[in-house]
């Protein structure tokens, strides 16, 4: 039987972790090693924005060690991802280049939404336990060092996701600045959290009652799992358990607490912060049960890699989540759901028929879907500048699972659906190669399709029902079933087909199949 081994390195804000995984044909993913080294990059970069040479040295040293360990398992591939501490380093690119030169390991920086998506995948890698819990109204609370992410689930699908700058290490940094004693810490954290959570509740939670919380963190999870007899499937914490945890943290010295909790001593204050945060969130949401599956970013990375090499197929449909999330955003800005769905249908039909010509894949199809769903969100702000305001809204809204660059593609496609396309051509000073050339072409191609689809439903009355698209002799033949007058559509079709022809050198032809 064939199997593959993979090393996932996460350069976190407080720890540098590497997990080694083994995937075998039976759709099984096995963690075979886990190394974790305390490396506090966060405190420094959150405060100064830069990474000191000592930290870089330490990071490189450990990465080189990790490379040795990889040899122990002859790993087939590895990936290294960096999170908020690296993200918030001003000289990131320089630092990353140095690290790559010295260790041969290129660290990719994850945007928050990518990181959270992977975290989310890691929870989903728990399979059955995850599926069962999200049948009820559930929130995933992803507590990391820089920020926390709150994602809401309803009926098996992701509803919304928001990032709050309430990271554990960041809060500790803040408290250090405030010179807070240990006694005050609890109250201060609660106060800080409550202020932001109140706004969150008002805007996103409204009257929703959340039954379960899934927590991801490095601090109270180990305690929860140990309490459950080392069975991560059973590591649920009730609200009353939080009280006993707080009592323990309050009453015992940090050494005794560390021992009782099974964490390193320097983590004890972070456990306290994480516990206060989680308890506050559970209270705000009205949840009764908190599940700590003890998964980490590395698990998500393994899931992602295994999917890519087709050694693993999860049960959960993540694309559906991304789309559901986009739908949620559209709803917030009062977009018409029907209109969006029609547009999505039209755009995707065109996209699918053009595969041979545009050469784009699954991922781009997803961008198009999201762009269709969000095509008019800017109307919430202005009916005139829809393109620009939509662009701004999308750029300012996190869409879980999309990187920053991907989000920009989606936002641009929506923008050019309404506004004039901005061309990039040959430029003396720049030449024809420029950063983002790939994205630029993707934007152009997707814009052409979206514009065409948009023109087909110009009246917003969803006049066109069945659409058949066929590529024949340099023409894209679009056959539509409709009984209605489509003069308006036809008119706009001609205008938007110009851009389409420009991008694809294919002439779109609209034919109606009137049934009498």
């Amino acid at each position: 039987m064939s199997f593959k081994t993979f090393a996932a390195i996460s350069v976190g804000s407080f720890e540098l972790t590497m997990k080694i995984f083994e995937f075998s044909g039976k759709n099984t993913m096995r963690e075979i090693d886990c190394l974790s080294q305390r490396l506090d990059l966060g405190s420094e970069t959150y405060a100064t924005g830069k990474m000191s040479r000592e930290k870089i040295d330490e990071l490189c040293r450990t990465l080189l060690d990790y490379k040795e360990v990889m040899k122990t398992y002859k790993v087939d591939a590895f990936r290294a991802y960096g999170t908020s501490a690296l993200r918030e380093t001003k000289n990131t690119l320089i630092v990353l280049d140095q690290i790559a030169q010295r260790t041969g390991i290129e660290i990719k920086i994850l945007s928050n939404s990518e990181q959270r998506f992977l975290d989310y995948k890691s929870v989903a890698s728990k399979g059955e336990s995850f599926r069962r819990i999200i049948e009820e109204k559930t929130a995933i609370v992803d507590v990391s060092n820089g920020s926390i992410q709150l994602s809401l689930f309803d009926n098996d699908a992701l509803m919304s996701t928001q990032n709050l700058r309430l990271g554990v290490l960041r809060l500790q940094e803040m408290l250090t600045h405030l010179n807070a004693g240990r006694d005050q810490m609890e109250a201060l954290v609660d106060e800080l959290a409550n202020a932001q959570l109140a706004t969150y509740k008002k805007l996103y939670l409204k009257d929703r009652e959340i039954q379960n919380i899934i927590i991801m963190d490095d601090y109270i999870s180990p305690w929860a799992i140990r309490r459950a007899g080392n069975d991560p499937d059973k590591s649920t914490i009730g609200l009353e358990d939080f009280d006993s945890l707080m009592t323990l943290l309050r009453s015992s010295g940090s050494m005794a607490a560390a021992k009782a909790l099974g964490v390193a001593e320097e983590k004890v204050p972070l456990v306290l912060i994480s516990a206060v945060l989680t308890r506050r969130i559970a209270k705000v949401m009205g949840a009764k049960k908190v599940w700590a599956p003890g998964v980490t970013l590395c698990d998500g990375m393994a899931y992602e890699y295994a999917e890519e090499i087709k050694m693993f197929r999860g049960e959960h449909d993540f694309e559906r989540d991304i789309i559901a999330c986009a739908g949620g955003i559209s709803k917030r800005y009062m977009g018409s759901r029907k209109r969006a769905e029609t547009l999505e249908y039209l755009a995707i039909t065109i996209f699918d028929s053009m595969k041979k010509i545009h050469g784009m894949g699954k991922r781009e199809r997803l961008y198009l879907q999201i762009a269709a769903l969000l095509h008019d969100c800017g109307k919430y702000v202005s009916l005139v500048d829809v393109g620009e305001t939509s662009y701004d809204i999308i750029m300012a809204t996190e869409i879980i699972g999309l990187s920053h660059a991907e989000r920009e593609i989606v936002a641009s496609v929506v923008r050019y659906n309404h506004s004039d396309f901005t061309y990039y051509g040959y430029n003396e000073s720049r030449g024809s190669d420029f950063a983002g050339k790939e994205s630029y072409l993707t934007i152009a191609k997707l814009t052409a399709i979206l514009r065409l689809a948009n023109s087909l439903d110009r009246s917003h009355k969803q006049k066109l029902r069945g659409l058949k698209a066929q590529l024949l002799e340099g023409e894209l033949r679009l056959m539509i079933d409709t009984q209605e007058d489509i003069t308006l559509e036809k008119g706009f079709f001609d205008t938007s087909s110009e851009f389409f022809q420009e991008v694809y050198s294919v002439v779109p032809v609209l034919k109606t199949n009137k049934k009498f």
Binding site: E15, I32, S36, N230
Partner: protein, 712 residues
């Protein structure tokens, strides 16, 4: 029975002082030397062991208590004794011990040797003419060139007498009238054999003489212009242990370090002199070494009885020695088998030295050349010189395996030896970790990572004894070979931690000191207590080398008070007291001292009829539980559990070598009257032989024996 509170259980009167308990242990070994049922030369060996033990005890334990006294430290130990009172009590007890050592020698062993054919010439004056000529010649040829005689006068200060060496001190006078007495000394060279065999004469028994007598006889040749007034051997023991014993309170360390710096060399803590030594000479030595009477031992016999080990090594006398023990093959791992395949069939439990240590060496040897093996990781504490394990590890690295070795440099008295082979490993390309800061790595664990068809597979060896093929023939230890997934994960985590990485989220099977081991033991003991209180089945049987952790002892007292029957097999120090009403009535303690050194740590907990059996590298001592890296591993397979339970049961049934601890703190041999004689170590030898034989016959049926061509 009213339960006593934890506070009451901690009362000093319920504990024995560990040093005094140690001396009782040496007494038990001495008991073996005095036991006429042992072969004569084995008795010599036991006596020799009591002497080398006592030397180590002085250098390490007495030295550090003396440091405490010098530093004015007055904190009491668990038995409520201050360092000062301990030192006084130790002084009395060691004098008694030494007296008994020499009366055993003088009254029993030496006369018996003479009867059985070995004459040790105690004084050179007893040599006959021929022999005198022989030894004088021997002196001239072999001894004289390596001697360094030293004199003390106004221009030459008292010389540095080296720790543990044997010396001859003499008072001399210049051959001029009216000259003053002077002191001279010469070290008996340790490079020469201390036992010198004299030429054998027809029809007479073998005669030997000790080297110091030969030197004494010829001492005038060293100091030509002097008259020798008197000459006597002496030996000193210094507080040489500059690395402070880890068991002591850390707050003391700084103070003691200062004290040591003040001294030019280690303070003299014991002076052994020949009985009847010249008064002036003794007075001079005492003054120069600044040693009080209490630390002077007048010896009636040869100084430094470790010389008896040399006598044991003399050719002949095989009838007076125990037959040489041959470890038996492990049936599950026959020679030439693929060890990994065999382990996959099931966990393999090995009992050394009844069973051979060879499979453990083979495990690493095979791993070194197996193309599927990716990595080998091992902790090494004390390794034999020229160890085949080291060679295999080096070979593995040369074959491109990832080899990580943790070498414990802090293993007492072994430091230099360890550095040499650690460098050798590094040269071969192994990743060598030189111990951990502030912790001694005492655990014995090996991990082999293999890339097999179905994925990564880990093989683990866990043991109670060191990876030392030489001592594995003398120490009784238990080892387990397994490819259990959960143990493999834990083993990986152990090595990650030893490399400086964080603890895993949780442990599956192993418990590690100094992190969780003590808690684990306390939990296991308390669980028995709980069951006993609930009227369910509860029992503890534990075998170890030493028991002196106060928390564990209190937990045992509480369990005993709750009705748990506790049987302890403790070879050495035991600070627990038995038979205290309401505290330890349900506890028995026995100690087994036999031909093999009892070394395995095995723990049995009844757990309400779901017995759990564990083995460990750790004793129930604070230093093991708090200041060392140790591993406790469970034995899970029912059949292997049974085997270990059997080991414990046989030891509990021993009527020959077992001594029972009495409520008054003394030990007494088991009363064997009316019982069948059971000698546990013998039983295990026979069982191992039987097992190996069964396996062999079973194997025979599967092979053919071709007939050879007839030879004429």
């Amino acid at each position: 029975m009213a339960e006593k509170s934890n506070v009451v259980m901690k009362d000093a009167k319920y504990f024995e002082n560990r040093e005094l308990s140690w001396i009782l242990f040496d007494h038990r070994i001495l008991g073996e030397a005095r036991d006429r049922s042992n072969p004569l030369f084995e008795r010599l060996k036991f006596l020799s062991i009591t002497a080398s033990n006592l030397d180590e005890f002085f250098m390490v334990r007495v030295a550090s208590i003396k440091d405490m006294v010098n530093a004015g430290y007055t904190k009491k130990d668990i038995a409520g004794m201050t360092p000062k009172t301990q030192l006084a009590a130790i002084g009395r007890a060691t004098h008694e011990l030494v007296d008994l050592q020499y009366s055993t020698w003088g009254r029993s062993l030496n006369p018996q040797l003479l009867k059985d054919g070995l004459h040790i010439i105690a004084h050179h004056e007893d040599l006959d003419k021929e022999e005198e000529a022989f030894v004088d010649h021997y002196f001239q040829e072999n001894v004289y060139p390596v001697l360094t005689p030293m004199a003390v006068d106004s221009s030459r200060p008292f010389p540095l007498i080296r720790n543990k060496t044997l010396n001859i001190g003499a008072m001399v006078r210049k051959k001029k009238k009216g000259s003053e007495l002077e002191f001279v000394t010469v070290q008996v060279p340790s490079v020469l054999n201390r036992v010198v065999e004299l030429p054998i004469k027809e029809g007479e028994i073998k005669r030997v003489i000790l080297l110091e007598e030969i030197i004494e006889r010829n001492i005038s040749k060293l100091f030509l212009n002097y008259t020798i007034v008197c000459a006597h051997p002496f030996r000193i023991m210094r507080n040489a242990d500059l690395t402070i014993e880890e068991d002591e309170a850390e707050d003391l360390l700084k103070e003691i370090e200062k004290q040591i710096k003040k001294r030019q060399w280690g303070e003299c803590i014991r002076l052994e002199v020949e009985q009847g030594m010249d008064k002036d000479l003794l007075a001079f030595l005492k003054k120069e070494l600044s040693i009080a009477d209490a630390y002077v031992y007048e010896i009636d016999g040869p100084l430094d009885l470790t010389v008896l080990m040399k006598l044991y090594g003399l050719d002949g006398f095989e009838d007076f020695k125990a037959p040489k023990h041959e470890p038996k093959p492990v049936p599950e791992l026959p020679a030439g088998c693929n060890i990994f395949e065999q382990i996959r069939k099931g966990d393999v439990l090995m009992q050394h030295p009844y069973q051979s240590f060879e499979p453990v060496v083979d495990f690493i040897r095979q791993a070194a050349v197996d193309p599927k093996v990716l990595a080998i990781k091992q902790t090494l504490y004390r390794v034999s010189g020229n160890s085949p394990i080291i060679a295999a590890l080096a070979q593995a690295a040369e074959n491109g395996k990832q080899v990580t070795v943790l070498v414990e440099l802090k293993a007492r008295f072994d430091e230099e030896n360890n550095i040499v082979w650690a460098r050798k490993l590094e040269k071969a390309g192994c990743h060598v970790i030189y111990g951990l800061l502030g912790l001694k790595t005492h655990s014995k664990i090996t991990l082999v990572v293999r890339r097999e068809e179905n994925g990564i597979q880990r093989y683990v060896h866990l043991g109670t004894g060191n990876y030392n093929d030489a001592t594995a023939k003398l120490y009784t230890d238990v080892g387990l070979l397994t490819c259990s997934e959960t143990v493999g994960e834990d083993a990986t985590a152990v090595f990650n931690m030893l490399s400086g990485y964080s603890e895993p989220l949780f442990w599956n099977k192993l418990s590690l000191a100094p992190l969780w081991l003590k808690d684990r033991f306390l939990f296991l003991i308390e669980r028995e207590k709980k069951y006993a209180l609930e009227g369910r089945k509860a029992r503890i049987i534990a075998k170890m080398n030493s028991l002196c952790d106060p928390d564990v002892i209190v937990a045992l007292y509480e369990a005993s008070a709750a009705g748990v029957k506790i049987d302890l097999i403790v070879r050495g120090i035991c600070c627990l007291r038995v038979g205290i009403p309401g505290v330890s009535e349900n506890i028995t303690v026995r100690s087994i001292v036999g031909n093999f050194l009892e070394h395995a740590r095995i723990f049995y907990f009844e757990n309400d009829e779901h017995p759990e059996v564990y083995c460990s590298s750790a004793d129930w001592m604070p230093r093991n539980l708090e200041r060392r890296v140790e591993i406790l591993f469970p034995i899970d397979q029912p059949q292997l559990k049974e085997e270990l339970r059997h080991v414990l049961d046989v030891q509990l049934a021993d009527t020959v070598k077992a001594c029972i601890l009495k409520p008054d703190g003394t030990y007494e041999k088991v009363d064997g009257r009316g019982k069948k004689a059971v000698l546990a170590q013998d039983v295990f030898c026979k069982e191992a032989a039987k097992k190996a034989k069964v396996a062999k016959t079973a194997g025979e049926s599967r092979t053919f024996k071709p007939k050879m061509a007839p030879t004429n």
